[in-house]
């Protein structure tokens, strides 16, 4: 496969595997990210704290790895939500065609004209309250573990809000794919065999649209991670005791004059991950789309 010859993309892939390993496996061996040692505020990197400590004496390395869990999860969960909505929406619109298609696409056009972050912020705030209530109910009625449930209720709305509004381009791509696929022989053969429209769409057409969709989706992961960090930086996203790279960068920015490392270290992890994701996405696109690779 052409992707293997692209050294930058391969290196990015390896980097991402290491980053996932660090955040989801190694993190558990770095101690409690919320453990405060008030006698060790702003410790320098080294002895006992590989990257030093923050304003409350918490271990920065541990906080970065646990924060990375949420940042990476946003990318994956929100992208999956957007993927499912975008593919189904685009496929139905393209396959049904006619007036349904026109109305569905006008809705997409309208949503395009609205600043994305504005709607995400509003939707997130709305979902947060329901998620909080649901969590309270689960804890009381079904005695779910309180801390975990509420933590989960804090992050889930943001994931859903980003995913629920981030599917527009994907729907357009899928629609145009479906429009050309449904004219092809195999699709018409399926029609003449008397298969139900739903079966044709989900078993024969949608699987053929997945290639370009997956390429596009690889490139949305970094932008969704960026949205999460932006919201958290503004104080509207992830809230304590959860943290993410955006939260850490925001905290770090408050102390940047005296303790620049509190901004630089989380910033490096965040930026390096975005680089790797973008390079990998570009590499995938070039490998699967020969026309783009020629340029």
């Amino acid at each position: 496969m052409r992707l293997r010859q692209n050294k930058v993309a391969v290196a990015s892939g390896l980097f991402l595997i290491v980053m996932f390993g660090l955040c989801f496996v190694a993190a558990w061996f770095t101690g409690d990210p919320n453990q405060q040692e008030l006698t060790h505020k702003f410790a320098a990197p080294g002895s006992g704290h590989p990257l030093g400590t923050d304003q409350m004496g918490r271990d920065l390395f541990s906080r970065i790895l646990f924060g990375g869990q949420i940042s990476l999860l946003v990318g994956l969960v929100a992208t999956s939500v957007a993927f499912v909505i975008g593919i189904s929406y685009g496929a139905i619109s393209g396959y049904v065609g006619g007036r349904t298609d026109a109305v569905m696409m006008r809705i997409v056009d309208t949503l395009y004209a609205i600043p994305f972050l504005v709607l995400v912020i509003l939707l997130q705030e709305v979902l947060s309250s329901s998620a909080g209530e649901a969590a309270g109910w689960l804890v009381k009625k079904w005695s779910f573990p309180e801390e975990t449930t509420f933590r989960f209720a804090n992050i889930l709305p943001l994931f859903i809000a980003i995913g629920a509004l981030g599917w527009l381009t994907l729907a357009r791509i899928t629609r145009s794919q479906v429009l050309s696929l449904k004219q092809q022989e195999f699709a018409q053969a399926a029609v003449s065999l008397g298969l139900s429209p739903r079966r044709i769409l989900f078993r024969h057409i949608i699987p053929n649209t997945l290639g370009p969709a997956i390429v596009y989706v690889t490139l949305t992961i970094p932008s969704f991670i960026m949205y999460e960090a932006t919201l958290s930086f503004l104080g509207l996203g992830i809230k304590a005791p959860n943290s993410s790279w955006g939260v850490l960068i925001k905290d770090g920015a408050n102390y940047m004059e005296t303790q620049p490392m509190l901004l630089i270290f989380p910033g490096l992890f965040f930026t390096a991950t975005l680089f790797a994701l973008n390079f990998l996405g570009d590499g995938l696109r070039d490998a699967l789309d020969p026309k783009a690779a020629k340029d």
Binding site: L117, V118, I121, S129, A229, T230
Partner: protein
């Protein structure tokens, strides 16, 4: 052309109506209200306040009344939290936001378009790789990292610049760079792609063959078509600038609309929130129209279909 603009304006009005309705009910479902804040006030007082702001009726009535007031009187109501008319707040905070946005756009075009053109012309040269590497940096390094870095590395060392504030035109520079870098990166990539597409076409080869100087080929024959993807990107770029302005206005303490939107969300100030959303919508509709018109001027085929 005039028919096209008229049609687009009608579509814009529809977008604004949908936006207003959608945000109105989204905002209504937000938990809490502007009156239950830091000070504990009695329930009767809250009821009285709600009545004063017309919030005691059901949502549909409120929606109809406020929409009518908006259309007939261009009145967005009074912000309960800031105790001022929303339209006054927005009128005051619009100029800084507009200046910031336009300067950022200027930065984006001044960096992005030349980089893209030179990269395309010198494809696979060291300049191309360097420029595209720079574009990747612009895409991956977030404004909330660039901003604080510019503050510590430049504003705190160069006496002419301030870390934050908005008093003289010198204060415009750092926020505009912070906001403009990401769109500059996207513009560079799009311009390069668009130029490459045109440079590969037969009429360009013909121009070279008949001895037109290389610079004239670029300037007269390819730039026009090569810039079309970049101009098409301007519409989404404006929307991205609005989102970005939330961050940049917070970092550099610019007294603009982005900050009011964030405050409105945190304070549950529904009048202010709805006003901000509507302003953003109007801006995007107008700027999308401008982008469409420029596209039509650049592309004769598109112009004929209007």
């Amino acid at each position: 052309m005039i028919r096209f603009i008229f049609k687009r304006l009608l579509q814009g009005l529809l977008v604004l109506f949908v936006l207003y309705t959608l945000s109105f009910f989204l905002i209504k479902t937000l938990p809490g209200d502007a009156f239950t804040g830091e000070r504990a006030i009695s329930e009767e007082a809250v009821e009285a306040l709600k009545k004063r702001f017309g919030l005691d009726r059901n949502w549909i009535t409120q929606y109809a009344l406020r929409l009518r007031r908006l259309i007939v009187n261009q009145d967005l109501g009074v912000s309960p939290k800031k105790n001022r008319e929303v339209s006054m707040i927005l009128r005051q905070s619009f100029p800084p936001s507009a200046i910031l946005g336009l300067n950022a756009l200027l930065v984006a075009c001044a960096i992005g378009i030349p980089l893209g053109v030179f990269s395309a012309v010198n494809k696979n040269s060291w300049f191309d790789y360097a420029a595209m590497g720079f574009a990747m940096i612009g895409i991956c390094v977030a404004a909330f990292i660039i901003g604080p870095l510019l503050q510590t590395q430049i504003a705190m060392r160069v006496p002419a610049f301030k870390v934050a504030g908005w008093e003289n035109p010198l204060d415009w520079i750092l926020p505009a760079i912070t906001l403009g870098l990401a769109p500059a990166a996207y513009l560079a990539r799009l311009t390069r792609g668009g130029m490459l597409e045109i440079l590969n076409q037969d009429f360009v080869r013909t121009a070279h063959a008949k001895g037109v100087p290389p610079l004239t080929v670029i300037w007269r024959h390819t730039l026009r078509g090569g810039l079309i993807p970049s101009v098409a990107f301007l519409g989404p770029a404006f929307a991205a600038l609005i989102s970005g302005s939330f961050v940049v206005e917070t970092i550099f303490q610019v007294p603009g609309m982005g900050r009011h939107f964030i405050d409105g969300t945190i304070d549950r100030d529904e009048f202010l929130l709805l006003g901000c959303v509507l302003y953003f919508g109007i801006l995007i509709v107008i700027l999308n129209l401008v982008s469409d018109i420029i596209q039509a001027l650049l592309n004769p085929r598109l112009r004929d279909s209007l």
